[in-house]
């Protein structure tokens, strides 16, 4: 084979070009920690990488949905506690008042306290979470119960759902009528309180004894709702944990596809650097040698 000076030159340049290209490639990977910088780097991997990124973004939204739902349910849980306490107190009072030996004046005093308890219940019914009325279905901007005639107020039947995964949405809200009884019926907790007030003011201990039963019915209804809220809270907590696990899994998967193995890259880079140095020094040495130096 004939070797000409131009060949030596071309070959050295070509080798330097190749080595430098590889070095830049590895350097970029090391500097960014990312294995894929453009779709062409790994046409299959990029699909997975994009999917994991999207899923991660989406999961954080689902997580927030679940957390919002939990906030909702925790507030409702407290409110059920309060309602239950109100009814317990009302039951004690009515029981005392149902006793025929209680003087009439005392019943008036009991009536005053019952009135307060009723107002307390209306307040509970009008509670808000993050500025939204909890017990008026989807009409979150309208308070469900009026002060004057809460027993006749119909609440919105709409349900508020939270998305917790692409195909699962969990119902969160309970309507006022589910908790406090259907509007206008005898079982409605506000109607019961109105009846009690009437019986207290009218001094009807026998009727009051019957009212006790209605209070129990109301308390049962609230307990049922309370249990429902507890069940939903459990479910959302499970969902929350699952989403958090999922986020960790996704992060791991993303790292496997997209991140570089630093140790490997450093070794590769070192190797390429050695080759580059070798090719530069050999090239420089060989190109200096010429017959000219040896001719007189």
């Amino acid at each position: 084979m004939r070797v000409t000076s131009m060949m030596q030159n071309t070959q050295l340049l070509q080798n330097l070009r190749n080595n430098n290209r590889d070095i830049i490639d590895w350097q970029n990977k090391l500097a960014t920690g990312q294995r894929i910088h453009r779709p062409g780097d790994d046409p299959v991997g990029i699909g997975y990488l994009m999917r994991y990124n999207s899923e991660l973004n989406r999961s954080s939204e689902f997580l927030e949905n679940a957390q919002t739902g939990l906030g909702y349910l925790n507030t409702m849980d407290e409110l059920m506690q309060q309602s239950s306490d109100v009814l317990k107190r009302a039951r004690v009072l009515v029981q005392q008042a149902a006793n025929g030996t209680m003087p009439d004046d005392n019943r008036k005093q009991v009536a005053l306290e019952i009135q307060q308890l009723k107002e307390q219940l209306v307040m509970i019914g009008n509670s808000t979470f993050a500025g939204r009325y909890l017990f008026n279905g989807q009409k979150t901007d309208v308070p469900p119960y009026s002060k004057t005639s809460p027993h006749l107020d119909q609440t919105d039947a709409g349900v508020i759902f939270m998305n917790v995964s692409p195909s699962v949405s969990v119902p969160i809200s309970l309507t006022g009528e589910q908790i406090f009884g259907q509007a206008g019926t005898a079982n409605n907790v506000f109607q019961v309180f109105d009846d009690i007030l009437a019986h207290l003011n009218g001094n009807q201990p026998d009727e009051l004894a019957k009212d006790l039963e209605k209070i129990d019915q109301c308390a049962d209804r609230i307990s049922n709702c309370w249990a429902e809220i507890g069940a939903r809270t459990n479910r959302l907590e499970l969902v929350e944990n699952r989403i958090e696990d999922q986020i960790i899994t996704l992060q791991k998967l993303r790292a496997e596809v997209g991140s570089v193995d630093t140790a490997e890259v450093i070794i590769q880079l070192q190797q390429k650097e050695n080759v580059l140095q070798a090719s530069i020094s050999v090239g420089a040495r060989i190109m200096q040698v010429s017959l000219v130096d040896y001719l007189r």
Binding site: M1, R2, V3, T4, S5, M6, M7, T10, Q11, Q14, Q34, I36, H37, R38, P39, G40, D41, D42, P43, V44, I46, G47, L49, M50, R51, N53, S54, N57, R58, E61, F62, E64, N65, T68, A130, R132, N136, G137, Q138, K139, T140, D141, D156, G158, V159, I160, F161, M162, N163, P166, S167, S169, G258, S290, L291, V292, L295
Partner: protein, 524 residues
């Protein structure tokens, strides 16, 4: 009979011939670094000996040599290697252009990153999720508008970027044809010059080198086919058109670009097609997202404000059941889940009601120019919605209060359905894309993966062609390149031959001196 002065003549011929050889060595050394130069050789032959056959021959024995002469100076070059080099070079040039185009497109899409189209789309879907979390929340609505404007801006800027790439390609095609015309003009001129110069024992070596270099340059621009004519001229065909024949060249225009099979010109044309393909695919995605047919189920029921047709049997609030396919009158309150066929994101948004007074039939996206067909260039967020966040129709229910419609603010039936658009498996227009069906996210991922494959392929092809071009060039260098060591060795050879010839002449001179001046003088 040889002449008395025969020796002088022989030595003179040697001196002259070695001098030419030394001059050629000098020429080679001077051009050791000249691109396209092929080394030259002086072809020396012994001159005709005495005596050649003729009418009268002496009876003298032997054939007496008469010295040396050169019959030509030729360049050392293998035209087969030229052919190989040009073939690889034009493929390389084409793939280099393709690779550049794909790199530009990849840069434009900016994947994977936190600011590419995927991230922007994620943001858009997520803000729908925020809206669904609390449809009455003003900040959720503002967030959605921001994300949607960001999405349309990103799509518009990709469109602008693609247009920039195509207009660059167009101007490059024009510039390349100008270059081709200039090169073919020069080749035709050299054809004429070479024909004039060359004759018996005359080789236009350096002119031929120049011409070959021009053809090499031409091969970078377009596929080129060279045939050498009997008179030494090149006939050149590029992209199927004869552009040089004898002393004449034909000017070409951009029209030939479509016929180019390789070279930069073909690269530009193919890049053009790839860019348009990218645009078409993205258009298919956008138009499917905004107006593609989809079925949606409104789980909480829905309140109609105009006569509608559901896909399934629905129960109204008054207990009537309307079978699927039959018209549900306007103003009905549906209490069962209702499945409707709608035209994409816009169609779904049109079903919803704005706050506070339940306006409906408002498209979420509009086109800039009012076209029915959505593209990445003309898609905009409906200005009506953009300027008034209340016009985001998240609710699917309204009430009549005092004869006026009042939207149920907390109802998120439509916003819920809008979040589900992300998971809906659309059918994509078959005339625009090869991906038959999938979600919008799937489509974009598949599209980016496909782009990655094409780009990766282009990069691989560039590397392969680079290697092939490089090895063809190396083989050419092996044959035609100047080796300085070789030239220096030759220089010594010719120098010695020259010195020896001079010495020989001195000897003949002394011999003649002996005869003429010193012979026959005895007794004088």
């Amino acid at each position: 009979m040889t002449s008395t002065f025969h020796g002088l003549e022989t030595a003179k011929r040697a001196l002259l011939t070695q001098q030419v050889a030394l001059q050629t060595v000098g020429h080679n050394i001077s051009n050791a670094a000249t691109v396209g130069y092929s080394r030259q050789r002086v072809n020396m032959v012994a001159t005709s000996p005495l005596e050649m056959p003729a009418f009268r021959n002496s009876t003298m024995p032997g054939q007496i040599g008469t010295g040396v002469e050169y019959d030509s100076i030729t360049r050392i070059r293998d035209s087969f290697l030229d052919l190989q080099f040009r073939r690889e070079n034009q493929t390389l040039a084409m793939w280099e252009v393709m690779e550049q185009t794909f790199t530009s497109i990849e840069g434009l899409l900016n994947e994977p990153s936190d600011s590419g189209l995927r991230a922007v789309m994620d943001k858009f879907w997520n803000s729908l999720e925020v809206l669904n979390r609390d449809p009455s929340l003003l900040s959720a609505r503002i967030d959605l508008i921001g994300a949607a404007v960001n999405l349309t801006d990103t799509l518009n800027s990709i469109d602008k970027g693609l247009t920039d790439i195509t207009s660059d390609l167009e101007s490059n095609i024009t510039a390349t044809t100008v270059q081709i015309n200039s090169l073919t003009q020069k080749i035709a001129d050299l054809n004429a010059l070479i024909k004039r110069v060359e004759g018996p024992n005359q080789n236009a070596n350096d002119l031929r080198d120049q011409r070959d270099l021009l053809v090499d340059q031409l091969s970078e621009l377009v596929d080129v086919n060279v045939s050498t004519m009997a008179d030494g001229s090149y006939t050149i065909v590029v992209a199927g058109v004869t552009v040089v024949e004898g002393n004449d060249s034909v000017q070409i225009d951009e029209g030939i670009a479509d016929q180019a099979s390789s070279g930069k010109l073909a690269g530009y044309v193919r890049s053009f097609a790839e860019v348009e393909n990218v645009r078409t695919q993205l258009n298919a995605m956008v138009s499917t997202l905004v107006t593609g047919e989809m079925k949606v189920t409104l789980g909480n029921g829905y309140m109609t404000s105009q006569p509608m047709v559901a896909e399934n049997n629905v129960t109204l609030s008054d207990g009537t059941v309307i079978p699927g396919g039959q018209t549900i009158p306007a103003g009905s309150t549906i209490v069962s889940p209702a499945e409707f066929k709608v035209q994409g994101f816009n169609g779904l948004h049109r079903l919803g009601y704005t706050i506070p007074d339940a306006e409906t039939d408002i498209p979420f996206f509009t086109t800039e120019n009012g076209d029915a067909e959505f593209t990445i260039g003309n898609i905009r967020v409906n200005p009506v919605v953009k300027n008034d966040t209340n016009k985001i129709a998240a609710s699917g229910k309204y009430e009549i209060q005092d004869g006026k419609r009042v939207t149920v603010r907390g109802n998120g039936d439509i916003s819920f359905a809008l979040t589900n658009v992300r998971d809906y498996v659309f059918t994509f227009p078959s005339n625009m894309t090869t991906l038959a069906s999938g979600t919008i996210d799937d489509f974009f991922r598949a599209f980016v993966g496909n782009l990655g494959t094409l780009s990766n392929n282009a990069t691989q092809n560039v590397r392969n062609s680079q290697d092939l071009t490089y090895s063809a060039e190396l083989m050419r260098q092996q044959v035609s390149g100047v080796s300085l060591d070789e030239e220096l060795a030759d220089m010594i050879r010719f120098q010695h031959a020259y010195n020896a010839a001079a010495r020989n002449m001195t000897t003949v001179d002394e011999m003649l001196d002996r005869i003429i001046n010193q012979m026959g003088i005895v007794g004088r």
